[in-house]
Symmetry: C2
Subunit: 156 residues, 2 copies
């Protein structure tokens, strides 16, 4: 019941892109540096975002990635689904159509549906633009106070 690093790193990468790719393409290496994620691994994550149509790429020198849509039109749900696949905590066979014809008798199905719905609703409501905004605020606030050199990078 845990979100893997795919989802966690990938969302950070997406937010990073939302923040820095408006003017120019952003390279994997620069994201990796800022976010403190292995380049090779990050490459695979961003590839998933591209495959899902959330980012576009330019090859060659000075190339890199940019969001394919405005950050206000990409939800956290879009990103997490691109990275982790279906977000449903339980995929009941009744939902896939095959088997489980005693679906009427299956009580837990009700529970899984509720859980799935609540997760979906939550992640689809939060847009990347909101998170960028939050991040800007936080950075400003942090800069106003004295800098804390010992601060550890957050891997959330």
């Amino acid at each position: 019941m845990k979100l893997s690093t795919k989802g966690r790193y990938g969302l950070r990468a997406a937010i990073d892109l939302a923040q820095y790719s408006e003017r120019e393409a952003v390279s994997i290496s620069s994201i990796a540096l800022r976010q403190n994620i292995s380049e090779g691994y990050l490459e695979q994550l961003v590839a998933k975002l591209k495959k899902a149509g959330l980012v576009m790429s330019t090859r060659g020198a000075q190339g890199g990635y940019r969001l394919a849509r405005p950050a206000a039109e990409i939800s956290v749900g879009d990103v997490l689904r691109a990275l982790e696949g279906n977000l449903d905590a339980v995929v009941c066979s009744a939902q896939t159509g095959e088997g489980c014809q005693g679906a009427d008798l299956c009580v837990t199905k009700y529970v899984w549906q509720k859980i799935n719905e609540s997760i979906t609703k939550t992640v689809d409501e939060i847009m990347l633009s909101q998170l960028v905004e939050e991040s800007r605020k936080a950075q400003k606030k942090s800069a106003d106070q004295q800098p804390d050199y010992g601060a550890q990078k957050c891997l959330g």
Copy 2:
């Protein structure tokens, strides 16, 4: 981001107990039979429920398990947490207290909190008694119609 069989089987076992353990102790083997789960594995799951104080046991012949509280006072969240541990999809190091002092700068934390809250709220609202009730209704309805011999057991 998937619930493991621990949670899925375990919840079915808990519902089974809620349904059948009111009058007498219910053995692992009878639950396993009804729910079509391996006995050995189920034993470990029910042990977790016991450790969490949700069920009580009687050893020896004619022994077995019973719910430790009325089904109306045990939530799906209680059961799933007993089985899967913390249900939080992401445990941010900021929440554990150690490291991550740049928590203000950590935007994703906001997202994980929202997700965790929505899951928690959902599972804590559903009580075992509700599910037993649903199950009774469904069984009655199913019995009224013609029986479908080919029906597969639902593993949800």
